[in-house]
């Protein structure tokens, strides 16, 4: 019985982990290229969640169609915010860009609140579900899972196989080197910020496929914290590392529950959180370059 | 007893042996130059002496203390000062504060109050001729001035041994002469042993050092009096390359 539960939890954790992982890729990309910590990360995911909600509720379309829209919206927001502030701040003290992203987060939250109000919303896209014996998985979650992996793979291909992707990679490797090759480094910075936010906003859409409820302007906060932990698990600067970091995080979060629930005096959920943060500290101490980075 | 003595010191980075079984002594008040091309292991050697790295093998004795495993910050108060190849003054602090920091935490740091450290700093500022820049942030100085500040900062630590990493690299001859004279003077007055690391400015070596240690690929090649060392056949070979037929061996 316990084995069944554990297997079920791990499967669910894997699915959630893929979504977490994809949700962290944008954060890592932006940090990797610009060394900017996006404190407003969760707010951008929230925008994606509202896009999914509107796609389904207002247009009556499958919410998954919001992914490309979200990507474009994220990129637009990225270019605007880059132009308005980040551009001037990346050369300044590292904290100033952090504050700017925090402020962007607030702006998004308040604008969304103006439009949608502060109600907790949700949608119900029923596609049925299938049983794996140990647990039941709705098809929407499967789509979230596959979608997350697909986005991660697409990003990988884009980075390693296309010219534009390689240009961005070269900027990460050495920006001066890229400049002498005729690459417009300023543009690449803006582009990576935009892509990073594009990924983040579209991950918000996929997240709602996993959890289609509780969508409200302030929902992003704890995803930001989780994303930080996941990013460090994966090496902070590597988007793929972040993806695998997410998988691991999902597994641990769901897997350790059974362990803690066998102690009646503990609140097991809070302990799984405690555990994941303790693990973060341990990893930072032994392998600050991240669990998955080979270099 | 020598001031500093290295015995069979080895340091590896992964598969690379950066310093290979090196032994030598430095006497009190001596001026020694460590010479060698880029990659010969000179900087690693310095880092081993002042504790930025710990050696894999061998021992380092300084002034009667075994300092082989001592952390860097505990070596400075024993009397080891250091300058860097690319000057690293504390940019936001003024020239005066930079030098005073040396006095505050150096060999006599424990006894030196902040005010006293400032007075010591003023003394060295005058000595290096940077009086007009006294209250300027060190970050705004020219590279040569930064180098001077760094040397003054190291001297303010009242070291018994001063390690100078490429102190003369990239300077014009006038400045080199100025620094050499200055360093000699301080050495004579304060009896500091000086170990200078030099890549290719032989002019400085000839003027400054009494003895030369030549490093090549991590190992000690030659340890001789200056004139003898500079005319040594092996040294010339290292510097001017091997005969043409062996040229492609590298890589």
């Amino acid at each position: 019985m316990v084995g069944h539960q554990l297997a079920g939890n791990l499967i669910q954790g894997l699915i959630l982990g893929a979504v977490y992982g994809m949700a962290t890729m944008g954060l890592s990309l932006i940090f990797g290229v610009l060394k900017v910590v996006n404190v407003g990360h969760g707010a951008f995911m929230m925008v994606g969640a509202f896009l999914a909600l509107s796609t389904f509720k207002l247009l009556g379309l499958p919410p998954v169609l919001a992914v490309p829209v979200a990507f474009i919206v994220g990129m637009l927001l990225g270019f605007i915010f880059y132009r308005v502030a980040i551009k001037k701040l990346i050369k300044g003290p590292e904290l100033s860009s952090l504050l700017a992203t925090f402020a962007f987060g607030i702006i998004l939250e308040e604008v969304v609140k103006l439009i949608y109000g502060s109600e907790h919303r949700g949608y119900n896209w029923a596609l049925g579900k299938f049983s794996l014996g140990v647990t039941v998985v709705p098809y929407t979650k499967l789509i979230a899972f596959v979608g997350s992996i697909l986005v991660a793979v697409l990003l990988y291909v884009w980075f390693n196989r296309t010219k534009a992707g390689k240009a961005l990679r070269s900027v990460v490797e050495d920006s001066e080197g890229a400049r002498v090759c005729g690459i417009n480094v300023e543009w690449e910075y803006a582009l990576s910020f935009a892509i990073g936010l594009g990924l983040t906003v579209s991950s918000g859409v996929l997240l709602t496929l996993f959890i289609p409820v509780g969508i409200n302007p302030y929902m992003g906060g704890h995803y930001t914290l989780k994303a930080f932990v996941i990013a460090v698990l994966g090496g902070l600067e590597s988007p793929y590392g972040a993806f695998f970091g997410g998988l691991i995080f999902g597994l641990i979060e769901n897997g350790s529950y059974l362990l803690f629930s066998s102690f009646p005096s503990l609140e097991p959920f809070a302990m799984t959180r405690f555990f994941s943060f303790v693990m973060l500290l341990i990893i930072l101490l032994i392998r600050p370059e991240g669990l998955l980075k080979t270099k | 007893m020598p001031l500093l003595s290295l015995r069979n010191v080895t340091k590896r980075f992964g598969g690379l042996v950066a310093v290979n079984n090196v032994s030598f002594d430095v006497e009190e008040g001596e001026m020694l130059a460590i010479v060698g091309p880029n990659g010969a292991g000179k900087t690693t050697l310095f880092n081993l002496i002042n504790g930025v790295f710990l050696p894999d093998e061998g021992t380092i004795i300084f002034d009667g203390h075994d300092i082989t495993r001592l952390p860097a910050f505990k070596r400075a108060p024993l009397g080891i000062g250091r300058t860097f190849q690319i000057p690293r003054p504390f940019s936001s602090a003024t020239v005066r504060e930079n030098i005073a920091i040396g006095a505050m935490f150096g060999a006599e740091g424990k006894k030196t109050s902040v005010d006293r450290a400032m007075e010591i700093a003023d003394h060295y500022i005058d000595l290096i001729g940077l009086s007009e820049h006294r209250d300027k942030p060190a970050g705004g100085l020219t590279p040569v001035e930064k180098k001077l500040v760094e040397i003054a900062r190291a001297l303010a630590m009242k070291p018994k041994l001063l390690l100078m990493d490429e102190a003369m690299a990239g300077m014009n001859p006038k400045d080199i002469d100025y620094i050499v004279d200055f360093v000699r003077k301080v050495r004579d007055e304060e009896k500091i042993a000086i170990v200078a690391m030099v890549e290719h400015i032989m002019r400085a070596v000839a003027n400054l050092a009494e003895r030369v240690v030549v490093m090549h690929q991590g190992a000690k090649l030659v340890d001789e009096e200056t004139e003898k060392a500079l005319t040594d056949k092996r040294v010339i070979e290292v510097y001017l390359g091997k005969p043409p037929e062996e040229k492609n061996a590298e890589g």
Partner: protein
Amino acid sequence: MLKVDKLVSGYGPMQVLWEPSLNVKKGTITSVLGPNGAGKSTLLWTIFGTVKPWSGKIYFEGRDITFTPPHEKVNMGMTLVPEGKHLFKGMTVYENLIMGAYRKEAEEKLQENLELVYTLFPILKERAQQKAGSLSGGQQQMVTIARALMTNPKFIMLDEPSQGLAPKIVLEVFETIVKLKEEVGLTILLVEQNAEASFDAADYIYVMHEGHFKAEGRPEDIRKSKEVREAYLGI
């Protein structure tokens, strides 16, 4: 080919260049000599555009390019081989070279330039699939030069190509630079601390000190001038 007129620039509040003017003739190697901190690298970075000029003018083939952004300068056929190892260490040698042919015109001539590069540096062909970071210092310097050639330039600037290399490798690098002029027909602006090597390679020399040009002339003349050698070059 390149004309610089009373260029002024620096970092933050610190002025580094004090109105040096310079002229590079087509098909020549021009060398700027001087000690560390003289402003040589700043000069190159300002010409290339990474450092913004405060005042003064830069002309390339007669066009005013003072405020043209770097990537457009590469489009015009100008590039820079930076000091140290600004190559893409995590990518293979081949990928590094391909990045050099990033812009369209260069991409069209990719095969042609690749052959040229492999002829000039046969070792790079052998190591094409190796990570650039795993090469020796000299080979890394070759990759940066080769990558610059892949941009299909008319004019390249080299920033201290001998920096950190063993003396015999320095010789090889300079031989290559002369080949670039003579066989490929490039115009070259070279910045060096290593005066001896430059004397042999360069057609014209500027001596820089504290942001000013203190002397200029043909290598023989500079070499003869004891004053200049003593005061600025230390040889």
